[in-house]
């Protein structure tokens, strides 16, 4: 079976609550990441690179920035007459109310899923940063004739509530699931990327709706015993964002060449919205070390171990160290930032000093003037 027969579903709001600062004004999917991307770029690009022709993006709240970012899906080549990308806002019938869990949200989009007439549905969240070859996942799924295949990684689980450990039997079959707690060592943790037969998904969603189960993971866990559920190990670069600290650490991990190579492999490019910025300008006296810089920056000061998003200005004498500076933020003369995450369009006036610690980065909100 080819990816042509797979429908992609992305949950743009799942786990919003673990990054309350960054999701105050946006969805998980529209959190800026890696200097020029939004988190949704990764699952969207993965789907497109695997050849999945149709993708539904499920939204719940705060999705204006997401709509602005994905538009009609053009940057991912998903602006199509047939198939392509569809935004699935909450489908609010009097009987439904606001969706709470993923099962609920999927149930609200069940007619879209049915109409796709694909054999399988690939589901993913936006807080998993990876450049995963979904084609391999699809192959594994079909070669095992599985009902559900769940991608997992081996190792210390990410610090995220509701983490699931997969208990694997022979042949990679999932025989049970367990909630991860703080005593879990190295385990096979679910990446919550899974592929499932469409007809089965519809049946499960109807069952869940009548049983008032709103959480999709619980739904799967309840059915592990009598379904053919398999695990698929992802061995490449994969990180799950579970907190602001996570976001900070994982971002800075990209300063290592091997991680960048794994995430931005030329065979599977990561697409994002084009912003038509000019290349970045380095002025006289600029001193940039070990940093990732997007286009449109103007740098006259010092930048070290940091990530600068598009259109950041670093004035003369300013020092930015171990920090993440988002789009269009301005850092004035002789100001110092250390271990700071500074959101979009903020202004740091001259001669200011902001310091966090590497295990407790300071967060400055969008548009704040200091």
């Amino acid at each position: 079976m080819s990816a042509k027969n797979v429908l992609g579903i992305i949950f743009s709001n799942a786990y919003d609550e673990v990054l309350p600062e960054l999701t105050a004004l946006r969805t998980m999917g529209s959190i800026p990441f890696a200097a020029r991307y939004r988190l949704i770029d990764f699952p969207l690009s993965n789907m497109v690179n695997a050849g999945i022709p149709q993708v539904g993006v499920i939204t719940k709240s705060n999705y204006r920035s997401l709509m602005d970012h994905i538009g009609n899906g053009k940057p991912w080549d998903l602006s199509r007459k047939r198939e392509g990308m569809t935004l699935l806002p909450p489908f609010d019938t009097p009987a439904m109310g606001m969706t709470t869990g993923k099962a609920d949200a999927l149930y609200g989009s069940i007619s879209y899923i049915t109409k796709s007439a694909k054999d399988h549905v690939l589901l993913t969240d936006c807080n998993v940063v990876c450049n995963m070859d979904y084609e391999k996942l699809i192959k594994a799924h079909t070669s095992k004739d599985a009902d559900i295949t769940i991608a997992y990684a081996k190792g210390n689980p990410p610090s995220i509530e509701n983490g699931t450990e997969l208990i694997l039997g022979d042949d990679g079959r999932v025989v049970g699931t367990k909630l991860i707690d703080c005593f879990s060592g190295s385990v096979n943790y679910s990446l919550k990327i899974m592929i499932i037969r469409r007809t089965l998904l519809e049946r499960l969603l109807h069952e869940a709706h009548s049983a008032k189960i709103d959480d999709f993971e619980t739904l799967v866990a309840n059915n592990v015993k009598h379904l053919r559920v398999y695990g698929y190990e992802e061995t490449g670069f994969v990180r799950v964002l579970g907190s602001l600290q996570n976001y900070y650490d994982i971002s800075l991990e990209l300063l290592k060449l091997e991680n960048r190579k794994a995430l931005f492999t030329p065979d599977r490019p990561v697409y994002t919205k084009v912003s038509d910025q000019v290349p970045s300008i380095y002025g006289i006296g600029a001193n940039v070390k070990n940093s990732l810089v997007a286009d449109g920056c103007k740098i006259y000061g010092e930048v070290e171990n940091s990530i600068l998003f598009r259109g950041v200005t670093v004035e003369k004498g300013a020092k930015i160290k171990n920090s993440i500076v988002m789009q269009n933020t301005f850092v004035g003369e002789n100001s110092t930032l250390e271990c700071v995450i500074i959101d979009k369009s903020a202004v740091v006036k001259p001669n200011k000093m902001l310091c966090g610690a590497s295990n407790y980065p300071v967060y400055i909100g969008k548009g704040i003037v200091i």
Binding site: A34, R36, D276, V278, P279, G285, V288, K289, V293
Partner: protein
């Protein structure tokens, strides 16, 4: 047709740009990369869109493959439109035979049918050879206000350079009294920018007449405009001030790129009100390494920099390894400069490889005879071997072995 456009643009993009040598071996001049992420044609195309002109015919002839591919359906410039948009116009076969575009005027003549489909009031003629930001709508207002038949955009150039241009002698009311083509002793410093607005009906008549004329070069500057002027049509000069550069030679292309690093030069590409659009490569942010040193330079997406960069413009996906130096140079997409190599006063085209320890170009101050100095050019996909030396003012179009 829905809304009839008042003015459409015809962009002459068929030129070879032979003075750019190996840089235009396989691509037309308007497709030559410029400014880190642009191509020359991005400027007239973006100017059109920013000026509210959404119907653009692009006339291609010389090596059109890359240009056609680059323009595609015009989406990066917002020119993928149901009504109008960008159209590639190549010479085509007709019942009376096939003809190449013989000259600039003939290229438009052969596409009269295209223009008639839109039946515009005015036609803007542009060339794909220049770097400038210009609001054509203001020029059109001027054209209408003067009730002109033809308006030519004009720029005051330094007197000592004036003899390289087609010049105009202009009356106080802006009307043109005389033309001079590259005179030895210029009487004016008002140079034509090769940007014209015509009343379409008038231009149509003169194009047909010019085509019928025995011995005509079918060129706007040499034939059509003098004919209109001779017949006493209303010809006006519209003054443009701002940055304008013909990037027709290696040294002007090099200069025009380095102009972007000079804050005193009046060419701001970071202008939200007048963006220059381009088809962007898909590449991650650029990375500057722990031992790198980058000053006075322009760097764009996909670059991995571990060496020293000074007064240079790097295009997408350029790699500069540790200990390598890039100074006063333009490095086009995908090129790799290996450890300890030096690239100075050079233009390196796409996907070239400069091996370890190779030296490309020379500082002008190190020359015995400054007359021998010039920018060194490395062609597309060329490999310069380990420790090889490439002299200044040369063009290298095939691989150079290492110095043993």
């Amino acid at each position: 047709m829905a809304v009839k456009p008042e003015c459409i643009a015809m962009l002459l993009a068929g030129g070879q740009g032979s003075r750019l040598g190996i840089l235009t071996k396989n691509i037309a001049k308007p497709a030559v990369p410029y400014g880190g992420k642009y191509r020359i044609i991005d400027f007239p195309l973006s100017n059109c869109v920013n000026s509210g002109i959404y119907t653009v015919g692009v006339l291609t002839q010389y090596q059109p493959l890359e240009l056609n591919d680059y323009i595609g359906n015009g989406q990066p410039w917002d020119l993928d439109r149901a009504n109008g948009g960008v159209h590639i116009l190549s010479p085509y076969q007709q019942i009376k035979g096939t003809e190449w575009y013989k000259g600039t005027a003939n290229a438009i003549y052969q596409n009269i049918n295209f223009i008639e489909r839109y039946d515009p009031e005015y036609v803007l003629i542009l060339s794909g050879d220049h770097i400038y930001k210009m609001d054509y709508s203001k020029m059109l207002d001027f054209h209408k206000e003067k009730n002109a038949d033809c308006t030519i955009a004009m720029l005051e150039v330094p007197w000592e350079e004036a003899s390289r241009f087609g010049l105009m002698i202009v009356n106080d009311d802006g009307s043109i009294s005389e033309f001079e083509e590259k005179p030895k002793n210029p009487r004016s410093n008002k140079a034509s920018m090769g940007v014209y607005i015509f009343n379409w009906k008038k231009l149509r008549k003169y194009l047909i007449e010019d085509e019928a004329k025995e011995g005509s070069g079918n060129d706007f500057g040499h034939d059509v405009i003098p004919a209109m002027h001779g017949a006493g049509e209303r010809m006006f000069a519209y003054q443009f001030d701002g940055y304008w550069k013909d990037v027709g030679t290696i040294s002007s292309l090099w200069d025009a790129n380095l102009d972007l690093l000079n804050p005193k030069v009046d060419l701001d590409l970071d202008d939200d009100g007048w963006k220059i659009y381009s088809r962007s490569p898909v590449a991650p942010p650029h990375y500057v390494g722990a031992n790198a040193k980058v000053e006075n330079s322009m760097i764009t997406e996909g670059c991995e920099i571990e060496g020293d960069i000074d007064f240079s413009v790097l295009f997408a996906n350029v790699t500069v390894e540790e200990g390598a130096e890039v100074k006063y140079s333009i490095v086009m997409p995908g090129t790799v400069i290996k450890k300890g190599a030096v690239v100075q006063y050079s233009i390196v085209a796409e996907n070239a490889v400069i091996e370890e320890g190779a030296v490309v170009g020379e500082k002008p101050e190190n020359m015995k005879n400054i007359e021998d100095w010039g920018v060194a050019v490395i062609g597309n996909g060329v490999t310069i071997g380990k420790g090889a030396k490439i002299a200044p003012d040369t063009m290298t179009d095939s691989d150079v072995g290492g110095a043993e």
